[in-house]
């Protein structure tokens, strides 16, 4: 019941309603009787029409009429005229039902069904639709029916595009028309029909949507269309490699401890293996040992197993990883070259091929095995206290060898020319929205300007005269938090992502967050840099493409409720997430793919506090049929773990190889839970600061 006032019904109203109800009840039971006994007499069929006129939602009555039609069609042999009169009658009943309720699914489908039966008099349909679309221009049933009719009548997409234009000019607050326009236009652009090139069409479309946005900036109808246009302007169809680890020109040290190069690009492994990470600008499939060639010493390493880093069994991911194994090779320096794009096979989720051949190279220094006590972070407890961290001296010899984050990304020179018209279009939009904001203070203006500036920065980041607008964008999001408090968390999340872009945008800004961990018992070399992004009000993390090299990360004292994307940081061995608002174990799903993670601090979060788990369906589990063989119920039944209460904790932690865990300060702690942790994490040495025996 929609929009009916809640007034106590007057006795006479109740009586009238009861009388009407009685009449309908009689009709209904007569109808059901006819239906059950397959009675298709003229009277019986008319009775169903009467019922549908009063109650168009009575789906069984529509079914009955279809049976009746089939019954009469067989009787009338193949006389086309009598067929048409049968169909016309059905269209009439459906039309009068629609007049009663133009949102009736059953009535709309009945019309479609009549046409699917081969009825040819469809010309009336457009007139009828015009009438309905005038009465309610947002009726999505009518719009869906219109698409069906247009296809059946071979009306061109250009003509339908013109129709959306007329509807929008009539009333720009017609989201349905804007939506249909985006569907038609993207089809035409895909087909490159009759000069439908984005380069040509995008400016007039921007102008068209400005009329709506600038007339009433509070009306949402044009907002989403504008955002779509912006995405179209920025988006390059074919996927690109954004960054990699090891980065181009870096050194990987294996089984040794002398360290001539920068800790940013340097990595030590005691095991002789290390991950090779490819970070694309969008999700791709088809990364394997034939689409990505890894060569060293003039040989191609065969049979590399590439894994997509995604939360479920999907074979599509933005980040792919494989393990390179240098065990048992002669100790010396090897030059490794990775090339991709030489053949087709890597495909984006929208179906575009990776078609820009690209390569990068790094050096692997294999040294003699020195057996001895475990070095680095393996043995001792990590204490995340401020006094244990010392900022990286920006003027030291070491930091001068630090390469700038720009070098961590892959250069894609061939893209710069294709960006020219795009950059110009964005620059024009920036001017327009600056002008709008000089006249009025409006939310959509600020939000759009922030997005435009970010798009501009992204597109120009590889050109020599690049500019950064990050400060301005951060300011815009700060304003938006005040202007639109209901959506404050959306702006905070965006603010966090921009802030991290700022942190990782230059060597200077990144160095401000790079610390040594003071651990006097270990050699200096064994200690990687700790990137400390604590106390930054972050509600979300990003810029992982610039942080692939990080092994120790402090994200404590922020407002994180999610660590989406962290799975890309394959080298992480120590992670501090304490004092955030993580509310469940399933939110830690990204950690499951971090095979090097040894030290984890999730103390003082909100695990166990909430009855609703917002990552319950994003994590792979039997609920989403994505757990596969990893979820072996037999395995759990054999232990005495209380699965129904703790399945999330069990499922997330059982694949980790933690030696240190801090979990105090969450609602879920307690003795029973502790004993579960000790069982699930056999390598654990420290739990909440206490050494386990």
């Amino acid at each position: 019941m929609h929009g009916r006032p809640r007034k106590p019904s007057k006795p006479e109203d109740a009586a009238a309603s009861a009388a009407k109800a009685q009449k309908l009840r009689v009709l209904q039971s007569q109808f059901l009787h006819n239906h059950q006994n397959k009675i298709f007499t003229k009277e019986a069929v008319e009775l169903s029409a009467k019922l549908l006129e009063i109650n168009p939602e009575s789906y069984t009555a529509w079914n009955y009429r279809k049976l009746a039609v089939e019954h009469y069609l067989t009787l009338s042999n193949s006389n086309p005229e009598s067929h048409n009169s049968i169909f016309d009658e059905e269209l009439r009943v459906a039309e009068s039902a629609l007049r009663q309720n133009f949102k009736s699914y059953g009535a709309w489908h009945h019309r479609k069904w009549v046409f699917s039966k081969g009825h040819s008099s469809i010309n009336h349909e457009l007139r009828l639709l015009d009438k309905f679309q005038k009465a309610d221009s947002r009726n999505f049933h009518a719009w869906n029916h219109r698409r069906f009719v247009a296809a059946l009548m071979n009306i061109s997409e250009e003509d339908e595009l013109k129709y959306t234009e007329d509807m929008i000019c009539n009333n720009f607050s017609n989201y349905s028309a804007w939506h249909n326009r985006s569907v038609l236009l993207s089809n035409l652009l895909k087909k490159k029909a009759n000069g439908f090139l984005l380069k040509v069409k995008v400016l007039p479309e921007y102008e068209f949507v400005h009329q709506a946005l600038f007339t009433d900036p509070d009306d949402q109808s044009g907002w989403f269309y504008h955002r779509w246009l912006l995405d179209q302007t920025v988006k390059v169809d074919s996927p690109l490699l954004a960054s990699s680890w090891p980065a181009h020109g870096s050194d990987v040290m294996l089984l040794g401890d002398s360290c001539p190069s920068s800790p940013f690009t340097n990595f030590h492994s005691d095991s002789g293996t290390f991950p090779l990470i490819l970070y694309f600008n969008q999700a791709v499939e088809g990364v394997n040992s034939s689409t990505v060639l890894v060569n060293y010493e003039l040989n191609t390493i065969k049979d590399l197993i590439w894994k997509p880093l995604s939360a479920n069994k999907s074979q599509t991911a933005q980040v792919w990883v494989t393990q390179l194994n240098f065990n048992g090779v002669e100790p010396k320096a090897y030059s490794v070259e990775v090339s991709l794009g030489h053949s087709q096979g890597i495909i984006s989720s929208s179906g575009f091929h990776y078609n820009h051949p690209s390569r990068f190279a790094f050096r692997v220094c294999v040294q003699l095995v020195e057996k001895g006590p475990a070095k680095g972070l393996g043995g001792d407890v990590i204490l995340w206290r401020d006094e244990n961290f010392h900022i990286y001296d920006a003027h030291s010899v070491e930091s001068s060898s630090v390469i700038s984050p720009d070098q961590l990304s892959i250069q894609n020179d061939h893209e710069t020319t294709a960006f020219e018209w795009r950059t110009e279009a964005i620059a024009k939009e920036i001017d327009h929205f600056r002008e709008l904001l000089s006249l009025i203070n409006c939310k959509i203006g600020k939000l759009t300007l922030a997005r435009l500036l970010m798009a501009h920065d992204t597109m120009t980041c590889q050109s020599p005269n690049k500019t950064f607008h990050l400060e301005e964008v951060l300011e815009l999001y700060n304003d938006l938090m005040k202007l639109d408090p209901s959506h404050v968390q959306y702006y905070k999340d965006e603010h966090s992502l921009v802030l991290l872009q700022q942190v990782t945008s230059s060597k200077e800004s990144l160095l401000r967050h790079c610390f040594h961990y003071r651990n006097l018992t270990s050699s200096h070399i064994g200690n990687p840099i700790c990137v400390r992004l604590n106390n930054l009000l972050l509600s979300r993390v990003g810029s992982f493409d610039k942080l692939l090299w990080v092994q120790m990360l402090d994200l404590s004292h922020n407002e994180l409720q999610s660590i989406e994307g962290l799975e890309a940081m394959q080298l992480l061995s120590c992670l501090n997430l304490s004092n955030n608002v993580l509310s469940s174990f399933t939110a830690l799903e990204p950690l499951r793919s971090l095979k090097s993670l040894k030290v984890l601090n999730i103390s003082h979060n909100e695990i166990g506090t909430h009855s609703i788990d917002t990552t319950r369906h994003l994590c792979s589990s039997p609920l989403s049929h994505s757990a596969g063989s990893e979820w072996n119920t037999g395995e759990i039944v054999n232990t005495d773990i209380d699965v129904k209460s703790y399945w999330e904790a069990y499922f997330i932690l059982k694949d980790l190889n933690l030696t240190q865990l801090d979990i105090v300060g969450n609602a879920i702690s307690g003795e029973k839970f502790k004993s579960l942790l000790i069982k699930v994490l056999p390598a654990l040495k420290w739990l909440d600061g206490e050494q386990l025996h």
Partner: protein, 361 residues
């Protein structure tokens, strides 16, 4: 960072934290004090009244959808199976499922089943996938799925899958992503998802994805919050949420919150309590529910209660019904409103019921 900037940031940080704590307290304690305990009892009584006021030999002894003998109650006679699901789930969330006679309900549900395996909306009506899911959900609530011939029901559903992966609602061939959700949800509850081509089902849903990140009934159809719930729910159940652009869809969904705090289902439409379910559950499934103000939405739903007679309506001061009472209570459950059982956003059943199905025994 200069000391002064540092100070400003610290102040800002403190203010944000305090704001977050305040939001949480308002939600936890309802912000409106004592009245609230009374209110959800009323919702329960409202539903129970409907049930027993009508327990006669003529009408089936399940929850009525509107006032006894009213025109509305007859008009909705054919979808009583949905009504049973809405009413009984609400009662379960309120901890009052005991108030109905389980055996009566189950016997009526089973009488609605057809030879094909599908269920009708009421005795004498035709089977349809819409009512088949409701029947299965009702039996799940009562822990009575063993009443079913599982293969018969799941064969009915798998028989409705089309070549392109889509699902028809019944033998008459209406196609809609609502039916994709129903098929996937129902088969998952019955542990028979292997009976359909899941990849094709997912591809069809993805073909209904729009440029605003939402989903429509059929390819090209406009995004609508109810349809988005169906598509996101089906993708969640099939482990295919990576097809959703969470940030794009999340922004569209969070902009459904209007000034009054209520949610609408499409841009420039009026808010309605039923979208508290469709929008909220979708936002939760993609982990973006923090993008709306929960406090304001709680207030909007509570404002739609009939404080005299119980029940919840679409908008403040409109007439209440079972449909909106369910969506209001389910919405409050998703908002972690105290005193309510938690509901699963994808399966639309209480979490303890879902956990029993997937992790039990």
């Amino acid at each position: 960072m200069s000391e002064e900037e540092d100070g400003v940031k610290k102040e800002q940080r403190k203010a944000w934290r305090e704001g977050a704590v305040r939001d949480r307290n308002v939600i936890l304690h309802g912000g409106r004090g004592m009245v609230l305990d009374q209110i959800w009892l009323d919702a329960g009584n409202f539903l129970v009244d409907f049930n027993y006021a009508n327990a006669s030999s003529v009408s089936p002894p399940v929850l009525r959808l509107a006032k006894k003998d009213s025109f509305e109650s007859v008009v909705m006679d054919h979808l009583r199976m949905n009504g049973a699901y809405w009413g009984l789930t609400t009662l379960d969330l309120l901890g009052k499922l005991d108030a109905v006679d389980k055996e009566d309900v189950i016997s009526w549900v089973m009488q609605c089943q057809h030879e094909s395996g599908g269920f009708a909306g009421n005795i004498g009506h035709d089977p349809h996938i819409l009512y088949t899911l409701s029947a299965v959900q009702v039996l799940a609530l009562f822990e009575k799925l063993d009443m079913l011939d599982i293969d018969k029901v799941s064969n009915y559903i798998s028989g409705l899958q089309n070549e392109d992966g889509s699902f028809s609602g019944d033998v008459w061939g209406e196609v809609d992503t609502r039916f994709s959700y129903i098929a996937v949800c129902c088969l998952s509850i019955l542990h028979r998802l292997d009976k359909i081509d899941v990849d094709k089902a997912v591809n069809y849903i993805v073909s209904c994805k729009n440029l605003d990140g939402g989903f429509g009934c059929t390819p090209g159809g406009e995004s609508h919050a109810g349809q988005i719930f169906c598509c996101v729910g089906a993708l969640a159940i099939t482990g295919a949420l990576h097809h959703v652009d969470k940030d794009l869809l999340g922004w569209w969904l969070c902009e459904r919150q209007v000034k009054s705090g209520g949610l609408n289902g499409r841009p420039e439409k009026l808010p309605d309590v039923c979208y508290s379910w469709w929008v909220l559950s979708s936002l939760i499934m993609i982990d973006r529910v923090h993008w709306i103000s929960k406090e304001k939405l709680v207030k909007f739903i509570l404002d739609c209660q009939d404080l005299e007679n119980g029940g919840i309506s679409d908008r403040p001061d409109d007439a209440v019904d079972v449909f909106h009472t369910y969506f209001g209570v389910a919405g409050l459950s998703l908002l972690e409103y105290p005193g309510l059982k938690a509901i699963d956003p994808a399966y639309a059943l209480p979490i303890d019921v879902v956990n029993r199905i997937f992790f039990g025994k």
